[in-house]
């Protein structure tokens, strides 16, 4: 085994892991903290990718800047989706079967709409940092992975600060555990859940932009991420952001080593293996409550 190859595989894996953390952050909030199984999350991420793509190609805006511009729109979209979900399912306690089917339909419809608008060709963006790389000794840091990773970690740190320091953030952490106690503090649990879900969809905007910086996308690529993000979310311990980060880095490294030494076509199987193993051995995850 070539040691340089291994080092670079680990570096690429860590950078990839940072990106995975950003992709999973939204799911950690919606699935881990709110108990809303939003399997349509990858579709929202791809929506973010394509919006960043359109703004980049049409107006020449940097994709990551574009995604920050789109945050309010995604926040509003998230609030709307939650409202529909709440009125139709959660209010009647029917979220399990029909809520899942609802999000599955949403995933599918978003994918088909993107397919009808953008077609099946791979789309990619232009930015100054794509293509060059930073090297330190034998180590290579490709900027198209480094920049997304830094952005992702910044977003992740912001989320963690928001959730642990602000009142609303703490209310979000509390809402799935004890809504009644929240009511006693004169906070409306539904409002908190709406805010939290909207934030989780807003993260999809940024995750989408960095996805399209890292790799060219087609509408169906979102499905590859479903197994991955749920594997990370479960492995990290549902709803624990630090756990999510550790799990994401771990998965990134394992996947990177797998694709360097066994071929990239095997990488999708890794996340499922980890998911099944976690479910069978330690369902509460690494840092589970």
């Amino acid at each position: 085994m070539d040691i340089n190859l291994l080092i670079n595989a680990i570096i690429a894996g860590l950078l990839l892991g940072g990106f995975y953390a950003a992709v999973t952050a939204g799911i950690s909030i919606s699935f881990g903290m709110l108990d809303i199984v939003n399997i349509a999350h990858p579709a929202f991420i791809l929506l973010g990718s394509y919006i960043a793509y359109s703004l980049n190609v049409g107006l020449g805006i940097d994709p990551i800047a574009a995604s920050i511009l789109m945050l309010p729109a995604f926040y509003a979209l998230g609030a709307f989706v939650y409202q529909v979900y709440y009125v139709s399912f959660e209010k009647y306690g029917q979220e399990s079967l029909r809520g899942l089917a609802f999000f599955f339909g949403l995933l599918f419809v978003t994918e088909v709409i993107l397919l009808l608008i953008f077609g099946v060709d791979y789309r990619s963006v232009n930015a100054a940092y794509i293509g060059s790389s930073l090297s330190v000794g034998p180590m290579e840091f490709p900027l198209r992975l480094l920049v997304p990773c830094v952005v992702a970690l910044a977003m992740f740190a912001g989320l963690e600060l928001f959730l642990s320091r602000t009142f609303i953030g703490r209310a979000v952490m509390a809402v799935s555990q004890d809504p009644t106690a929240l009511r006693l503090m004169s906070v409306d649990p539904t409002r908190i859940k709406r805010i939290a879900f909207a934030i989780s969809i807003a993260t999809a905007s940024m995750a989408g932009a960095i996805l399209i910086v890292i790799q060219p996308v087609i509408p169906s690529v979102g499905r590859d991420y479903i197994g991955r993000i749920f594997a990370i979310c479960v492995l990290g311990g549902l709803g624990s952001l630090p756990g999510t980060l550790i799990a994401a880095l771990l998965l990134g490294v394992i996947e990177s080593i797998t694709s360097v030494f066994y071929g990239p076509s095997w990488a999708p199987a890794v996340s499922f293996g980890i998911l099944l193993l976690t479910l069978a051995v330690r369902p509460s995850g690494l840092l589970g409550r």
Partner: protein, 334 residues
């Protein structure tokens, strides 16, 4: 109605359908009809786990593809019999191969059932959501394996050349149609039997309140495993004749997400609590899609399915049968 009478009625209805289509004598009708029948099997199979137990399976495409690739595997084995088999085994194998279609269907069902058992055993002890996610990921992983497995064609795909005709019936597509009709009868009978047996009541307790059921001594894990295996096996059986129907399979078409969406949307639209619900949904949606594919485009027809699924789960959670019940009960009131 007693079960034998029900089966007899099914056979009569199936025979009538087949004879009418044969009298029209248009091969396209058999091709289109085969797809609709395939969807009846898939959605009825999905409903055994999803509708009766309340456990959502997103991996229908994976189970279906297991059947498909079991057939492709055996077909390829048959093509390369001389190279693969040791000398002493060859005469025996040459006597067995090529396997008849019913044997392929059975084997496809066994493989899919075993995979269902394995996945279920690992994930069914947890909350239902985990099972749903695991099935979704299962489809992706199975696809990864098939893409990397060059023996069954890998990502290039594999050609399966069906025999042109069969004795007595004539065109091969009619033979496949007839077999699929038998599978429909099998799956509907299964669903109806379950609905009226101890097993079905057990499933219903799991759907309504699993914790309470467990506390009352219902062996929930065993029942869920039975449902998963049964449902997976039926999906695999529906997939086994597919390569012979289509002639060329590649992972993208065998694992198409539209199978997963359709097998959820059809029971949801028809109604999940009655054995005829999935069939109703499959006939309506399947026919609609056949028409839309021919007249508009296949991407648009998938959009229609997705929107119908969302619309129905929001507005009519009990499907068409639920709508019918509210309508008749409103009319009977003074």
């Amino acid at each position: 109605m007693r079960t034998p009478v029900f089966v007899l009625l099914e056979i009569i209805a199936g025979a009538a359908l087949f004879l009418i289509l044969r009298a029209v004598n248009n091969d396209y009708l058999f091709f289109a009809g085969y797809t609709v029948l395939q969807f009846i099997v898939l959605s009825t199979a999905w409903n055994i786990l999803g509708g009766y137990c309340g456990y959502v399976n997103f991996g229908s495409a994976g189970f279906f593809a297991l059947g498909v690739y079991t057939s492709v595997f055996l077909y390829t084995v048959n093509q390369n019999l001389e190279d693969l088999m040791p000398e002493w085994l060859l005469p025996l194998m040459q006597a067995i191969f090529p396997l008849p279609m019913p044997a392929l269907i059975l084997l496809g069902g066994i493989v899919a059932g075993l995979v269902g058992l394995g996945t279920g055993y690992l994930t069914l002890r947890l909350r239902g959501v985990f099972f749903a996610i695991a099935t979704l990921a299962l489809a992706v992983v199975l696809q990864t394996f098939v893409v990397n497995w060059s023996f069954v064609g890998g990502s290039r795909g594999a050609y399966v050349i069906p025999p042109g005709t069969v004795p007595i019936l004539g065109p091969y597509i009619q033979y496949l149609f007839l077999l699929m009709l038998l599978l429909v009868i099998l799956s509907l009978t299964c669903a109806r039997l379950i609905e009226r047996s101890r097993l079905g009541y057990g499933f219903a307790t799991i759907r309504d309140d699993e914790l309470a059921a467990e506390a009352c001594g219902v062996p929930t894990l065993r029942l869920k495993l039975i449902a998963t295996v049964l449902s997976g096996a039926l999906m695999g059986m529906a997939g086994a004749p597919f390569p012979y129907y289509i002639g060329y399979v590649e992972p993208g078409s065998a694992f198409d997400l539209s199978y997963a969406v359709n097998s959820i949307a059809m029971p949801m639209i028809g109604g999940t609590t009655w054995w005829a619900g999935p069939m109703l949904g499959a006939v309506l949606l399947g026919t609609l899609q056949q028409i839309a594919t021919v007249t508009i485009s296949s991407a648009v027809n998938l959009l229609i399915v997705g929107l119908l699924l969302i619309g129905f789960v929001i507005a009519a959670p009990d499907g068409i049968i639920g709508l019918w019940h509210t309508w008749t009960s409103r009319r009977s009131k003074p």
